[in-house]
Symmetry: C2
Amino acid sequence: MLEVLNKQIVLASRPVGEPTAENFRLVEVPLASPTEGELQLQTLYLSLDPYMRGRMSAAKSYAQPVPIGGVMEGGAVSRVLASRNPSFTVGDIVQGRTGWQTHPISNGSNLERVDPKLAPISTALGVLGMPGMTAYTGLLNIGQPKPGETLVVAAATGPVGSLVGQIGRLKGCRVVGIAGGADKVAYMRDELGFDVALDHRAPDFAAQLAGACPDGIDIYFENVGGHVWEAVFPLLNNFARVPVCGLIAHYNEDGPQPGPDRLPMTMRAVLSKRLTFRGFIVTDFAAQAADFRRDVGAWLKSGAIKYREDVVHGLEKAPEAFIGLLKGRNFGKLVVKVAD
Amino acid sequence: MLEVLNKQIVLASRPVGEPTAENFRLVEVPLASPTEGELQLQTLYLSLDPYMRGRMSAAKSYAQPVPIGGVMEGGAVSRVLASRNPSFTVGDIVQGRTGWQTHPISNGSNLERVDPKLAPISTALGVLGMPGMTAYTGLLNIGQPKPGETLVVAAATGPVGSLVGQIGRLKGCRVVGIAGGADKVAYMRDELGFDVALDHRAPDFAAQLAGACPDGIDIYFENVGGHVWEAVFPLLNNFARVPVCGLIAHYNEDGPQPGPDRLPMTMRAVLSKRLTFRGFIVTDFAAQAADFRRDVGAWLKSGAIKYREDVVHGLEKAPEAFIGLLKGRNFGKLVVKVAD
């Protein structure tokens, strides 16, 4: 009988600027046996998400960095292979933050059961999981969409942005989606039903955005920063709300950025236009998980919202796929299929 | 009989950077006679406030700029000299945005009656007026003070800051007040009862602030920007709220500021610390005027809050006093006593 090994992707070194393949290392370790209360899991799908870039840096953030040599953090959907925990049975499908590895051990404390009859199990990492709840809670609590308002969302074919835009439509907003590339623009327009779909790579993107927002912008759901923010900022209306969910354009920055210093004029606009900038993390709204599941589950079932996955096969592909994610190469929710 | 003339301070030219005496001009015009529905007023107290700097510039803001040659805008308390408006009687004391002039004509539409028995009439321009309501509404709606939290407020001997700090104390916050100069520091400590009083001109101000906030900062009421913000920013706690009320350090800036560009790292902190930045103008909370009058009126009556005025005599002194206000030379609410 072949010995099964636990494959893990560990953080080999901290990136300076963009992560590279050298920052990751694949290791194989013998399977630990679950002790009393523990479970042996087999990872089926691993989620790759932009926030993981933050975990690779030593800088203080809302969560601890991954230590050098530590298993990369991440959410995954797994099957229970062996259980010494009365809450779970062999064969159960579960999700939790079990990391970039094929055979995690868990004490069950942060696992949730996934119902395979409700939807494909990988959606527990996307539209019905953390990214979906990020979109739902950030838009509703901070964006506070009202009928007739203009909502702009970037990274709008990703799992967060695509749901933000679709919920915005359901709430009666005029939705302008932004993504990179003709295929994503077509998807936003033809599949997601956004009012306007723009390619941020177009040389006249800022002018296109201004043309697409004749009444200004009431909500900008910030996923990216960078040149998209530059184009959005002058269009913000009085009382505009900016849920700050992600800043993918800046995750690879180290140290101070070249001037001019835009902070003073930004704060002056916050004052004179009475803008709200508010950062959030999905766990801040953990109390709304039931609302999220009820609403998004119903919308999904009725066909009111759609989702798209970008599936990569094999744990060893995770580093390359993650590096591509930070460059916008994925098209839809990026997941790694680790096992059948 | 001497002819009475209406003295006015008009905007002679738009300032580039700091306003100077040359940007203002004193003119005397014959008194107009009130037509049907109008009132002839005599200005008793003129309010000088930092927001007026914005009105001197042509740049778009939340209000229209004063035109060149136009009477400088501002709130004032006046006596009714003649009335052809059934709502007001000769001798009434009123307040409204009647501008930098001795004898305004008003149609009465934006005037409010001031009760001289309630408090000194000049307080209608300060603690019981626009600055007081700015402090009350901004702190309670956006700052959302909770017992045990640390509240930092700058310009803290001014009419807004001093009330913010005192209301913060009443709500159970630990209050750190910031102002410029030993006399103001003594006043914050000995009269206003703040927990800590700091001089932002001290060479080690940032270190003093850090020492004064061992548990970080939960609310920073932003009146000033500049180097005070620099010292505050790294101390902001997760979920800190920043009501953006004023940015007096930046009002004289024209054009882009030298780098580095602090905006990206500021937005990253908004995200990772889940900060809220929200600008506001007192009129956004006009619906809370009755609450404000009830609460602050009662606190004033009981001695729970104090106020301080800096009174300049004569309309012709208004430009110089205003220029000093932007440099922090006033000590307390700056008003011009225009007539007895």
